[in-house]
């Protein structure tokens, strides 16, 4: 293979690896900006992946499948929001319990529907959608504009989120609610409503990230299909400092590591593949170390808001 082709396919693969992380990371960053710390991204993505697969499998419609994925993610994020806001629960514990719940539920329902089979039931995957003209630009056209719908969707979401965070009143409100809910409340903002809205976005985007795995990348579902991607999305949020393009960048770096390790695993070097499988995790750890001293969490992150308790 020519070097340029290798580089092009590698970059294109990195982007595809980055999509679920970027989508879920963006959703989580909206949630965290409002002060809701949801470590149950894994649960959101898992439900997104499962429900979109089930609907695509039974109806053949990608549109309905993706919608189902979003609803699946939404069910988890809203449950988390309800327990965190209404019941003022420990958000980390709720997220953790939800990961258990979603892992069990998706595999239970999957086994219930298909039984123990040797061949995994599978569906078609969403094909690539090259953009006319732009896709014929050398290199960039190959990397960026010959991708599937989700890639364009993700880029669109990032731009919209950027505008929302930094140019609109909602962005300021989100920031205020996460930094100083009492100030937000006395200024006339509805703290809880804004947090529910943030959770809504988290569920939709995380559900999309999960749906991507089954409807675009794999075309099948299996137990624990996310395999820790939800946790890695949390890393992307920290590395990206909760800015849309920062998260996209972090997701691309981690996605690149993932693409690289798959390439190395299949290269047949005789080295145990686990060494390469470890690589993305080691890299996220290294990247987390780089945030030392520069990380700034929203001041009210993970703390329930209670007017009566000052």
């Amino acid at each position: 293979m020519e070097p340029i082709v290798v580089v092009t396919t590698f970059f294109a693969a990195s982007i595809r690896m980055a999509i679920p992380l970027a989508l879920a990371g963006l959703g989580e960053s909206i949630s965290e900006k409002s002060g809701l710390l949801n470590i149950g991204v894994e649960a959101i993505m898992l439900c997104g992946a499962f429900f979109s697969f089930m609907v695509v499998f039974s109806t053949g419609s990608f549109f309905l499948g993706i919608l189902a994925g979003m609803l699946g993610g939404l069910s988890m994020s809203m449950l988390h929001a309800l327990l965190s806001i209404r019941f003022k629960a420990n958000q980390t514990i709720v997220g953790l319990a939800q990961n258990f719940l979603a892992l069990g539920l998706t595999s239970f329902l999957f086994l219930m529907s298909f039984g123990q089979t040797t061949t995994l039931p599978s569906t078609k995957v969403l094909g690539d959608l090259p953009i006319p003209l732009l896709s014929s630009i050398p290199f960039i056209g190959q990397v960026l504009f010959s991708q599937n719908l989700f890639v364009y969707l993700t880029l669109g979401c990032m731009v919209l989120a950027h505008i929302c965070f930094y140019k609109t009143d909602f962005g300021v409100a989100l920031h205020a609610v996460g930094e100083h809910p009492i100030a937000a409340d006395t200024a006339g903002l509805q703290v809880h409503t804004i947090r529910y809205i943030a959770a809504l976005f988290n569920g939709i985007l995380g559900g999309l990230g999960g749906a991507y795995l089954t409807t675009v990348k794999l075309g099948f579902f299996q137990e624990n299909i996310t395999a820790g991607k939800g946790y890695i999305a949390l890393v992307a949020v920290i590395l990206g400092k909760r800015t849309p393009f920062g998260i996209l960048g972090a997701a691309l770096v981690i996605g690149g590591a993932e693409a690289l390790q798959i390439r190395l695993q299949t290269a047949g070097t005789g080295i145990p593949s686990q060494l390469f499988a470890m690589f993305p995790y080691l890299m996220t750890i290294a990247a987390l170390l780089l945030t030392i001293g520069s990380a700034h969490d929203p001041a009210a992150l993970g703390i329930p808001y209670d007017r009566d308790k000052r």
Binding site: Q98, F100, G104, M112, L234, V235, Y281, L289, G293
Partner: protein, 342 residues
Amino acid sequence: MKRRDDEWVSLLIVIGATLLVAFGLIALVGSNLMVAVSSFLRGIFGSSYAMSEVLVRATPLMLAALGVSIGFKTGFTNLGAEGQLYMGAIAITATALVFPGLPPIVMIPLVILVGFAAGGAWALVPGFLKARFSISEVIMTIMLNYVAINLVGILVRTGLKDPAYPYPMSPILPESANFMQLLPPTRIHAGLVMALLMVIAVHLLVFRSRLGFEMRAVGLNGRACHCSGIQVNRATILSAIAGGGLAGLAGVSEIAGLHHRLIEGISPGFGYVAIIVALLGKNHPFGIVFASIGIAALQIGSMAMQRTAGVPTSIASIVMGALILFLVIRDSRQSIAILEGV
């Protein structure tokens, strides 16, 4: 008196709600409820062997959950017991294979010590980073789980591989490194005794020692401890090490008591389930004894239920998740206020 009654009533409601979820799921797969429940109960109480299996499974859960609970005391949210357990397992395997000639009287304490140290070291990294640089231990410990699991995968294919077999596993460890079987033919081993001793040790540490007092205080208000001249970082790091060490002992106990060699997947998520156990046991050592036996019974019973009634074992995960969520709702002050308002 009334408050105590309310507590029992609400606990019964939680148990009832959880059972309702479980029954709903059983009905969903179309199994006969009576068959499912009786196979579940027979899976646990059906024979003395079945009951012994519950204790065998409770052993690593108890150790790892004790570790998780110590971390929780200082606010160190240790989700990395799984990785720490594997590090303990690697440590005992390596030690026993490097010094095969040691007599049991030396070997057993040595592997326990090394396993504790390995698990502790694995938790020291996130503990130090949290204390010194406030890097989120939640994510760090989970990332380290994946690293440790892959490390086992590498070692059983390279350095610790049994050259006699083509499979990824280590040679059988020398007998001097084996924990005693307590009640043959059951698989209950001395690891259970170690776990129970650790329960007492943790109780003394947390509720009787100065360090334990500092740990608890740090977890409740680190800032006030700092202002009072208590070394907050020291307490946090020590709790991380002790917690990781106990999870490491779970790995030692699994290898020395059951598998006698290192293989991939010795832990079907013990480290994660341990978090649930710690939460159910209210982070109290004695609570953890009961919670670990209860969760082990749930898992053993659900396996029997899958064999006989065709209900997938994933039901155990769902029940654990749901149980925690219901308890969280129960414990929230909000719901207490609602109850009082009625």
